[in-house]
Symmetry: C2
Subunit: 147 residues, 2 copies
Amino acid sequence: MTRTDADFMSEAYDEARKSFDAGGLPIGAILVRGGEIIGRGHNQRVQKGDPILHGEMDCMRNAGRQKTYRDTVMYTTLSPCMMCTGTILQFGIPRVVIGESRNFAGFQNVLTEAGVEVLDLDDPACTKLMGGFIAAHPALWNEDIGE
Amino acid sequence: MTRTDADFMSEAYDEARKSFDAGGLPIGAILVRGGEIIGRGHNQRVQKGDPILHGEMDCMRNAGRQKTYRDTVMYTTLSPCMMCTGTILQFGIPRVVIGESRNFAGFQNVLTEAGVEVLDLDDPACTKLMGGFIAAHPALWNEDIGE
């Protein structure tokens, strides 16, 4: 049975929940190749005191060194920041599925102008989890996006 | 005594040498605030099997969470890739000093168009160290830049 984008987004959401439950920013990501998850991760800036560990970066790290990323899809619960956008471009990931962009618009135009296919699912669960965190922890959120 | 850009670049070069001596990509970076080094790092993709640990990223990680980066300068021995360019933009680092861009042009136009001040020192020592590594290990270099 072929897994859908919504299926994989639910896996990214599970990663976001792990961070939320640990007091961190609830953003999760999954890297998929040929229907198989080859990496998963979540924002660990608070948990590990590591400023570069956004969800997408933690996912890339956990996937390890790959010969190519041109056959992969990145699923992330929140529209990527410029660090993660640059990373997607640098590694040549051709497709990005986003949980939501209501809480953070990100730089989808930078991705699409570089030829990356972007799908925004506008998922209510991702939006609610992130929105709740931002309302409760505005300082952590502002630090996360460099403001 | 005020330290010069060349002084700080020699510190970034020392970081690059650490990676070279360990069999990794010889790219180093230093983050400076008010004349003081607050972070240093080097490419550790090979050493740690971590695809995101370019020199600049390792430096950002080691600097830890900062309230702001708007008063910092990034020194890096090689012109930054798109991941590191996105990271510099995301964190709002206003000035980047580059050792050389002969071995990799990078995306200096993306930085300057976003208002970042970029200075390319065209340093012979940085150029020689990197050029020698690329000639000896072309596969590792191509993987590093996602090709």
